[in-house]
Symmetry: C2
Subunit: 339 residues, 2 copies
């Protein structure tokens, strides 16, 4: 998450980051709406120091867009299935555009009825969840988001990969502060961190994963070939299973296992569904609901406990003052990939 | 969870267990609807080997019913706030009656609109969450339930108790099997287990809690006087915070901190709200949604991983064959408390 690493950086304006992303994606023939949506997501992540979901994702989009089913011209349309259930089919384009287009209907459902669901289907997913739940919270509703990935994670008590790294994000609106936001994978560690340890020939903790025989190991290569463990033992495994069900079959979309099969070794971003649930604290809890919640957040800060999301906000503030740091090596790599 | 411990047991029929509960609670002047609801919950837990939420809870209900705000005549009414938002005020009686009364409205909302919320308010809560989400799943909808408790849990990175042990339960309907159900506290360990270790003068793992100074300790007495840790480090802390917000201020009810204050050393069951969210897999995901989900459950059983809830189902089957085991010591204690 540290915005400035030891390697050489330059500082871009937000406009310049977006321009780099747009130039790269437009050169691949991606349509303008998807380009704009990807620029929104990747720029927000880069700006907030969430580097794993920032510009670093751009080279990998070439594999995604090369998937035989990827749709560069996808133009997802919002379907209101019921007054509280919105569906947007990403038509095998990037999922973030479909999700963005469904947000206002989701927010309206929550505001008018207390709760709303948004099911995004058939999207190639390579962006962070937090930007859109934060957007919902900035509109005064609480929101949750979750999705399957590929079957990389072993269920508690099992021996082989079945579940995805199934991230969950949540945002809560705050009257005089930026929203409370968290976003994490339900695996014990990020797959990228395990891959990094392998590349550096480092050992990993023995509760990050199992080898191909279902045995605990500290060898990252064995875990990448075997399975990752969920966070929090059987409780984390249960949360991951719930996400697998709700953001998979519940919305008529692929499980992590099916998403991996669909990939067929294309090494594309996982293609699956994404579920958003939004709530209206003010409709459900009354006009004081958000004010009452502040006591909980004060309970964190009074004892020096960090609220999740604050590191991103700090990076955001630094970026606003100093510009957005971009690794020169990454920038050169991205530019070299523009035909 | 083991239904038969080393101590002496007798085997009751379900009718006999209910009768013991009813006699006990009616003798305290609790009205019939609350008696029946408590009998439903405690009998189900005792039958399923979930002993911590079974008959063992009965003696403690005396403290709860002695709370100055407890309402023995509570007769909660279902309010349909919107087509998908149901509220039932428990009027300071036991929360389970209010929750039971709201279930059919919750289930209808999910079936008709894809999602429904049920907010239960002002209930003294001492029963397990799984019986009602299992009931929802038996009606073909997926359901989640959560609530605050008392502020016993320290947030990740903090030093003192702020959050509750905030349990979460989830159930998913299965076409040819009993539902997939989990129910767990978001603390690393159950408070009852820490108290048991103190009584037996045993040490506990150092990731269960902190002492009054916010330092890790293996002394259970220090943890009971200090704070319990959440499961799964910062990720479990985030889930617990989400529950605190959604089942607290979001539904206009007490946080765990406020619930502890409301108790005012009465040692009653925590009095707070409870949130249910129900979903219709068939409306949202299509007619094959439940069939598709079976592949995920097969992925568990094919590799010998236990599905959460199966231990309860096994105990239920044993109880159906052999009767429900009740500790003689507990039975005698309960009978001695009937005036």
């Amino acid at each position: 998450m540290a915005p400035i690493q030891s390697e050489k950086h330059i500082w871009f304006s937000e406009v310049e980051v977006r321009e780099l992303i747009s130039t790269f994606l437009l050169a691949q023939g991606l349509n303008q709406p998807q380009v704009d949506s990807m620029a929104n997501m990747l720029t927000a992540a880069q700006r907030d120091g969430s580097l794993s979901h920032g510009l670093q994702r751009l080279p990998g989009t070439l594999d995604t867009m090369a998937h035989p089913r990827f749709n560069k011209q996808a133009d997802p349309q919002v379907q209101n299935i019921t007054p509280v259930l919105t569906r947007v089919d990403a038509h095998h384009g990037f999922s973030c555009l479909a999700a963005e287009r469904g947000m206002s209907s989701l927010i309206s459902s929550a505001r008018d009825f207390g709760v709303g669901l948004l099911a995004v289907n058939n999207g190639f997913h390579s962006t962070a969840l937090w930007p859109l739940v934060e957007q919902a919270a900035n509109s005064g509703v609480a929101a949750m988001s979750m999705n399957p990935t590929h079957n990389w994670v072993v269920p508690s008590g099992g021996r082989s990969a079945l579940l995805g790294t199934n991230p969950i994000a949540f945002a809560w609106p705050r009257p005089n502060s930026r929203p409370y936001v968290f976003d994490f994978a339900t695996s014990a560690a990020a797959r990228a961190d395990i891959a990094m340890a392998r590349n550096k020939q480092q050992q990993i903790p023995d509760d990050w994963g199992l080898d191909r025989n279902g045995q605990a190991t500290t060898d990252p290569a064995e875990v990448l070939a075997g399975s990752m463990l969920p966070f929090g033992a059987h409780k984390g495994s249960a949360i991951s299973t719930m996400i697998e069900l709700l953001a998979g079959p519940m919305i008529g979309d692929r499980s992590s296992y099916q998403s991996k099969q669909f990939d067929a070794d294309a090494d594309a971003a996982p293609c699956h569904g994404e579920l958003f649930i939004a709530f209206s604290p003010e409709l459900t809890g009354g006009p004081d609901a958000l004010h009452e919640a502040e006591a909980i957040f004060n309970g964190f800060t009074d004892q020096g406990a960090r609220l999740p999301g604050n590191r991103r906000y700090q990076a955001r503030d630094t970026s606003a003052r100093m510009g957005i740091p971009v690794s020169v090596a990454l920038m050169n790599r991205i530019r070299s990939l523009i035909p």
